[in-house]
Amino acid sequence: MNIFWREMKAQRKSLIIWCVGMVFLLIAGMSKYATLSVPGESQTLNELMADMPKSLQAIFGVGSLDLSTVSGYYGVLFLYIAMMATIHAGMLGATIIAKEERDKTAEFLLVKPITRSMMLTSKLAAALVGVVILNGVTSIGSLMAVQSYSNGENVNQDIMLLMGGLFILQLLFMLLGSAVASLLKLPKRAAGLTSGLLLLTFFISVVIDISGNLDALKFLTPFKYFDAKTVLEAGSLSMGYMLLSLALMVLALVGTYVGYNKRDLKV
């Protein structure tokens, strides 16, 4: 329990900064909607978008989301929200484990009468709480920001659905980060490798968008698992991708525990 509280305290400041940044993104993003949603103009814009070839839509970053409804606009924003939240989660997962070796405190911590698994559990629990808090702030912020522009449109359910998808993405990247930190003997590189992985999958999703005919590659990038457009159209998260994420998470979790327990620590 001590380790848990210690980690909570250690991440407090950065978590606050992330939350403020997220709220800022939401407010700035949604306030743009006000300028877009001028009646008449948004209609033309929408018609224009509907006729646009897929590759062009991707370049303007809208996909075939309906820009004249507030939930459609929020869908555009969702990609950026997901990017921010997963960066936070991935780095948190990687550093929370790797930092002991990096800061040369591993010796101190591991001579205490706890097993490595107990240490990992406390640390992952602390990271989980951080991720949940950021997700909560994002959800509440989204609900409030979108509500104020909704004009009576009922958007709460759509947003909660997207937030559910976001939470799965966050967990996935958090565990991938911890697995990278545990399995590889590169404590200094763990956060870098995790964010490299994240950027790589982000670029893959951009490429899938632009090319328009690479849908088969979607399973490679978590950013496509809960694509705002498909989620909003279907009204639910895709079962197949949920199972895939779950499998990846279990794999990463097992990797974390097994890898860290077996490894020689750098002291």
């Binding site: 950065s14 743009k32 646009m52 070839p53 062009l56 970053g61 780095m91 632009i210 328009g212």
Partner: protein, 265 residues
């Protein structure tokens, strides 16, 4: 000179990683140009019926949308993103890593002045960035020539690619300043990624709605490819801001680093 060489060799591996990433992204994206130009050709007829206000709001330029340089402008945003992360990381680590890795007292007790330390580190970083740009530039010219079916102006392509260097300088100087102002920074990665992505998001939000005020805020929008293609020059205001900021941030970093307490082991 020793420090310069040491820094260069310390960054060699990551430098090649970044260069191959940037070149890889551009190959991947430019290879989609043939499909894109087919799609876009049919779409142009439709676009020409649209009111000018809508086109302006969307940032669509009729002259460039189907050309290879126009397409290059769209994908260049992602190259800038990658380049900015590289430069910002370089800026935040190059001075602060000595303290973090507990090598500061070793380095600072050597018979060299702090100016000399900062200068050789800066020079090494500049060399890295320059190498990145030269290799990327060559690759970009080659790829564009390969995917383009019609002739295009090489000079314009070079002009459109050069902003990578400018944007990298901006982020490098910013990173340097952040690292000396905030010496207790434990990990540079979250800070660097956070700053770069924040500016990227501001730019992306501004782009979907075509807002000019936001442009001043984000270096990603200082060098607009369609403007460069049209006028074959840069907008002097933004060029000026870039130069001024880079000089200011670097000078401040020097001054602060000279006076700062460096935490020893």
């Amino acid at each position: 000179m020793n420090m310069y060489k040491h820094e260069l060799s310390a960054y060699r591996k990551s430098l090649f990683g970044w260069i191959s990433a940037l070149v890889g992204i551009s190959i991947l994206m430019m290879s989609m140009f043939p499909t894109f130009s087919k799609d876009a050709g049919a779409f142009v007829a439709l676009l020409s019926n649209m009111p000018d206000a809508v086109l302006a709001a969307m940032g669509i330029h009729m002259e460039t949308i189907t050309s290879v340089l126009g397409f290059y402008g769209y994908i260049f945003v992602y190259i800038l993103l990658g380049g900015a992360i590289q430069a910002m990381l370089l800026g935040t680590t190059i001075l602060s890593k000595e303290v973090r890795d507990k090598t500061a007292d070793f380095l600072l007790t050597k018979p060299v002045t702090r100016q000399a330390i900062v200068s050789s580190k800066l020079l090494a970083a500049l060399t890295s960035l320059a190498v990145t740009n030269i290799i990327y530039m060559a690759a970009a010219c080659l790829i564009t020539a390969l995917v383009s079916e019609s002739a295009f102006s090489l000079k314009l392509l070079i002009l459109a690619t050069l902003p990578l260097f400018f944007v990298q300088l901006i982020f490098f100087a910013t990173g340097l300043l952040v690292s000396v102002i905030w010496p207790k920074m434990r990990t540079v990665l979250p800070v660097s990624l956070g700053v770069v992505f924040a500016f990227f998001l501001i730019g992306a939000l501004g782009a979907t709605t075509g807002d000019d005020k936001l442009r001043l805020l984000t270096p990603f929008k200082y060098f607009d490819t369609s403007y460069i293609v049209e006028h074959s020059s840069y907008e002097s205001l933004y060029l000026f801001i870039t130069i001024a900021w880079v000089i200011l941030a670097t000078a401040l970093s020097y001054i602060i680093y000279m006076k700062r307490d460096v935490h020893a082991v």
